[in-house]
Symmetry: C2
Subunit: 133 residues, 2 copies
DNA sequence: CGTCTTACTTACGTTAACGTCAAGCTGTAT
DNA sequence: ATACAGCTTGACGTTAACGTAAGTAAGACG
């Protein structure tokens, strides 16, 4: 029952992506739908991979990185060494993300300061205007 | 004394940007260095604007947005309405940044979960390997 | 049979913010 | 004079992840 394949449109609806995106992912060797004549048929495996792709994107991995990770997963659960590498890449990514977040927080604080300053300025201007009347 | 102009290289060294960047900003009407023959000479005003540009970039504004903001500032401190708009734009940006940060935090948490899972998996593999010996 | 729907391939377009030549001018130190 | 450093303008290249349009095929339906 879970062996049913899906058409490109069903995939698009199910995962909220465009056909172009799925074809693009195939061209980048992230997905491997089978063919029925011309048409693509996406298998359970493709669906699993797509889920991982979308998750990877949320994590900020590039498609190329995602492809490499997917390949590692595919190489079988036999190679712990490979998995170890995956783990390291992921940890690296985590560090990057934390740095990014910290920078963002700094920028937010910074911008908040500026806004306080701007508020003050606007208030002063308003007073000035009132006084002039 | 503060009226001294700077050459492009001095600017690059002072603000850690490339010549290309400064020329690019000029072409985008963010900076207006004067000319001495061929050469660009950057004034105090340019330096002030560049500082604002770099700050704006830290805040995640696009160069086009920055240009508009700089223009507003230039239109004089007379137009409180304009300043009000600046303020609004900035607040909008702040919201965006906070959203971005929240998403990033979610992703970080998510990734942390995955890593915990991966650690477990690796540990299991190691045990399996040991047991096999 | 005609038409509609869905899909297909190919290939150029998009966006931002510069990078990277190429070719030429200018001032100065040797 | 010449070599060299530093500047100039133009213009094409880069990157990621698709968007978009043109032209075609293939199956379903009435």
């Amino acid at each position: 029952m879970s062996e049913k394949t899906m058409t490109i449109r069903e995939m698009c609806d199910a995962y909220d992506v465009t056909p172009r995106t799925l074809r693009f992912y195939e061209s980048k060797e992230l997905l491997f739908p089978i063919r029925e004549g011309q048409k693509r048929l996406f298998t359970k495996r493709d669906r699993a991979r797509l889920k991982l792709i979308l998750r990877g994107k949320r994590f900020g991995f590039s498609l190329e990185e995602i492809r490499q990770l997917l390949d590692l997963y595919d190489m079988g659960d036999q190679q712990a060494t490979q998995l170890q590498r995956t783990y390291e890449v992921a940890q690296h990514r985590l560090k990057d993300m934390e740095e990014q977040r910290d920078e963002l927080n700094e920028a937010i604080d910074d911008l908040r300061e500026q806004l306080k300053w701007g508020e003050q300025f606007l208030a002063d201007l308003a007073n000035q205007k009132d006084a002039a009347q």
